[in-house]
């Protein structure tokens, strides 16, 4: 194998690579052994601490309802943020300077603010100025925070999707006599949405990760806060973190894989002339990100 950094290995390079591999394996094994003994010293490997996860009521009482809330908040946020983002994305491309200006300011403003601040703020506003009950308030606040932030990110995605279409599409639409609104609605937007699909799916990863903030900071009963209740019952802090992290990894890995599968499929079937906006094209990471994702969300 050859790359910009190294040539196809000859006999000496091959030998060196073998030595490097062996050294690296030894280092990894040392690290694993160190972690294992540290766990053992603190009695964290005892079966009684892991056993709850083999029992079905641990899952039906804590983890699955928590995961359900996490996914519910993420789905709601996505469904609301998408049309909102589309409106702002299109507004940023408006012919009228003031529409462009206002939409641009709003989008840049919400992109610059951490999701956590938006959630805290929404939570307080709901508590003081609305009659949303204390039971629903955390969900409302989490979804509001996620919508405000992600609508701004999605607006950029929509804008990029429309700009990625060849100019000839607009010209042809005008040539057959379509008006501005018709061109956008009938020609540009459908193509842009197809091109954006992978980027939209990967933004979901960011949203799923960000729901965890609501659990810690405003008492939303999602997966991470259900973990706390679970660990309080069985005194298995480390174990519950490991299992919850694995659940997040699996869910997000499925989303990421789906996004890149979609991207490959769209690139292969050359139905549109425009570019496909891929998983890595959202230039923002959040972590739940607060997150966002330069690659897949980052945010936190």
């Amino acid at each position: 194998m050859s790359s910009v950094l190294y040539d196809t290995p000859g006999p000496r390079a091959k030998r060196r690579n073998v030595i490097l591999s062996v050294v690296f394996v030894v280092l990894l094994l040392l690290l694993a052994w160190w972690v294992w003994t540290a766990l053992d010293d603190k009695g964290q490997l005892e079966w009684s601490l892991w056993k709850p996860f083999t029992q079905s009521d641990t899952w039906t009482t804590y983890l699955l309802p928590g995961l359900g809330e996490t996914l519910k908040a993420a789905a709601l946020a996505m469904v609301i943020a998408l049309p909102l983002g589309a409106v702002f994305g299109i507004a940023r491309l408006s012919d009228h300077r003031w529409v462009r200006g206002v939409a641009g300011t709003v989008v840049e403003f919400f992109r610059a603010i951490p999701v956590l601040l938006l959630m805290l703020f929404a939570n307080e506003v709901y508590a003081r100025s609305t009659d949303v009950g204390t039971e629903n308030r955390p969900l409302y606040a989490v979804v509001t925070g996620l919508v405000l932030y992600n609508a701004a990110v999605l607006a950029e995605v929509v804008r990029a999707g429309i700009l990625a279409l060849p100019k000839g599409q607009t010209e042809a639409a005008q040539a057959v006599g379509l008006r501005k609104g018709q061109t956008m609605r009938l020609i540009l937007l459908p193509q842009a949405v197809t091109a954006m699909l992978p980027a939209i799916v990967s933004q979901l990863v960011v949203i799923v990760k960000d729901t965890a903030l609501g659990g810690v900071m405003i008492g939303f009963t999602e997966l991470l806060s259900e973990r706390a209740t679970l660990a309080a019952n069985y005194a298995n802090v480390i174990q519950s973190f490991v299992i919850v992290a694995i659940i997040y990894i699996v869910v997000n890995f499925i989303l990421t894989s789906f996004a890149s599968w979609l991207e490959k499929r769209l690139r292969r079937s050359k139905k549109s002339t425009g570019a496909v906006l891929g998983v890595d094209d959202i230039d923002d990471i959040n972590a739940g990100e607060v997150g966002g994702g330069f690659a897949t969300g980052a945010s936190a």
Binding site: S3, N17, I113, V290, A298
Partner: protein, 224 residues
């Protein structure tokens, strides 16, 4: 109108934002170093190192930052007594948060740096070898300068995201901006004003970073 701000001295408003800046600064340096090391592994000729780098990035990227930060405090500190050499609780929280941010952000730095190396066309290295440059010379004179210039934009995005992500440290009691905002907003009636103050603070922190580094990345980009 702004009277209530002086009621808060632990931390003060400026102190809270200064904490945000400090968290960003140290985590930024940490993740730049660890992320570059990871990127080096991911492009190395040794398959095992590539595998480790790939696994690290895919695993860490898919865990919420909140989970990582909370684990640092509840898992590492409480159970394994990892104190990061700190004597009091506050310093310990600060250092644990930096550890968590570094571990998380490094995955994104790694991807940015790797994509930078990938932008350098193979022909550049082939030409370098053809005129007789050795590996170190190729790397130092041809590949890395082009890679770094390509990577300023993506790294700026990582830095901005990190700045916003430091608010998660409030979850383990580090007295930064989000921590203070939560206190203020719960105690004062001026919800909108407090929201505006903190929003403004973050706009001030992130907007210039984006503008300066964005301008720099356009100026330094290798035109192909």
């Amino acid at each position: 109108m702004f009277d209530f701000i002086s009621d808060y001295d632990n931390p003060t408003l400026l102190g809270a934002f200064w904490m945000t800046v400090k968290l960003t600064f140290f985590s930024g340096i940490g993740s730049l170093v660890w992320g570059t090391l990871l990127a080096a592994m991911r492009v190395s000729p040794v398959p095992l190192m590539r595998g480790f780098g790939t696994a690290y990035v895919n695993i860490v990227r898919n865990i919420p930052l909140t989970v990582i930060i909370l684990f640092c405090s509840l898992g590492l500190a409480d159970i394994f007594h990892v104190t990061m050499g700190a004597s009091d609780f506050k310093v310990q929280g600060f250092r644990l948060a930096i550890l968590g941010f570094t571990a998380y952000t490094a995955a994104f730095v790694c991807e940015a740096v790797r994509s930078g190396i990938n932008t350098v066309p193979m022909g550049q290295a082939e030409a370098a070898r053809a005129i007789g440059l050795n590996f170190t010379q190729t790397l130092r004179l041809i590949v890395l300068p082009q890679a770094f210039r390509a990577v300023i934009g993506p790294l700026a995005n990582v830095l901005i995201a990190l700045t916003k992500n430091t608010t998660v440290a409030a979850a383990i009691g580090v007295a930064e901006a989000a921590y203070l905002m939560k206190q203020m907003i719960e105690n004062e009636a001026a919800t909108l004003l407090i929201g505006a103050i903190f929003a403004f603070g973050f706009v001030v922190l992130t907007l210039p970073t984006g503008l300066i580094l964005g301008w720099l990345s356009k100026r330094l980009a290798v035109k192909r």
